[in-house]
Amino acid sequence: MIVSFLRRGTLFALLWLIASEGNPAAWPLAVAGIAGATVASLWLLPAKVLPPISPAGLARFLIWFIRQSLAGGVQVALLAVQPRLALRPALIELPLTVPPGLPRLLFTAALSLMPGTLGVRLQGDTLLVHVLDRQQPLQAEELAERVAGVFGGAR
């Protein structure tokens, strides 16, 4: 509890430092803001429901994710500027292997920013996905593995 309070407090303090560009003039506001954000964060996402996060896994995920979102943006941009629309959309039911909670949230959010996929509805253990091209293979399995890597779960 104290450890996660300090850890999140440090994170919010760092954010404040960046947002205020290191200007110390408004320090009482900074203290109130950082304390408020930390309490709200622990209230909304208590430390005991947060699975342990592996920093190395997170770094690997981010590098891979940036590449994927680059590919996603390029693909949809090319589709948009083509004279003839080459869309073959479909709704697909995707069985989920990532555990509920934060991992599943990360999975759904990341999938929506990756090439050709958009999360539509989470229900039970399936995610309804809208795809731009139903002949393009889904990268759901690799994403699930990488999300598992973020949360330190060896799967």
């Binding site: 960046i18 943006g73 090319l78 959309p89 920013l113």
Partner: protein, 101 residues
């Protein structure tokens, strides 16, 4: 010099992605495909613009501030895209299908 060139390149790339995203928003046939265009192309455009501007920042804090906008916008975009898509699906909006040639 090199920084300026890199900034110009990134800003131009950002403009191209924003343009393509807007084109997709106007041209794509239904709400789901339009969300694809917005969630992906515009986010990439934003990332390019922010990276280009961060290279010109006077201090590290300003550069980090610019770069911090990107993940926040990505989170908002993923959440809003999901919410709109779910609402559309709940209202019974059937995804557009291409005609067989």
């Amino acid at each position: 010099m090199l920084l300026d060139a890199l900034t110009t390149l990134l800003l131009l790339a950002g403009a191209v992605f924003f343009f393509a995203g807007t084109l997709g928003l106007l041209r794509f046939p239904d709400v789901y495909t339009r969300l694809h265009a917005l969630a992906k192309a515009d986010n990439l455009g934003l990332g390019c613009v922010l990276a280009g501007l961060a290279l010109q920042a006077d201090s590290l804090a300003v550069a980090l501030k610019l770069l911090a906008i990107w993940p926040l916008a990505l989170i908002a975009s993923a959440a809003v895209g999901y919410s709109i898509a779910r609402r559309a699906e709940r209202l019974g909006v059937v995804p557009w299908q291409e005609q067989d040639q």
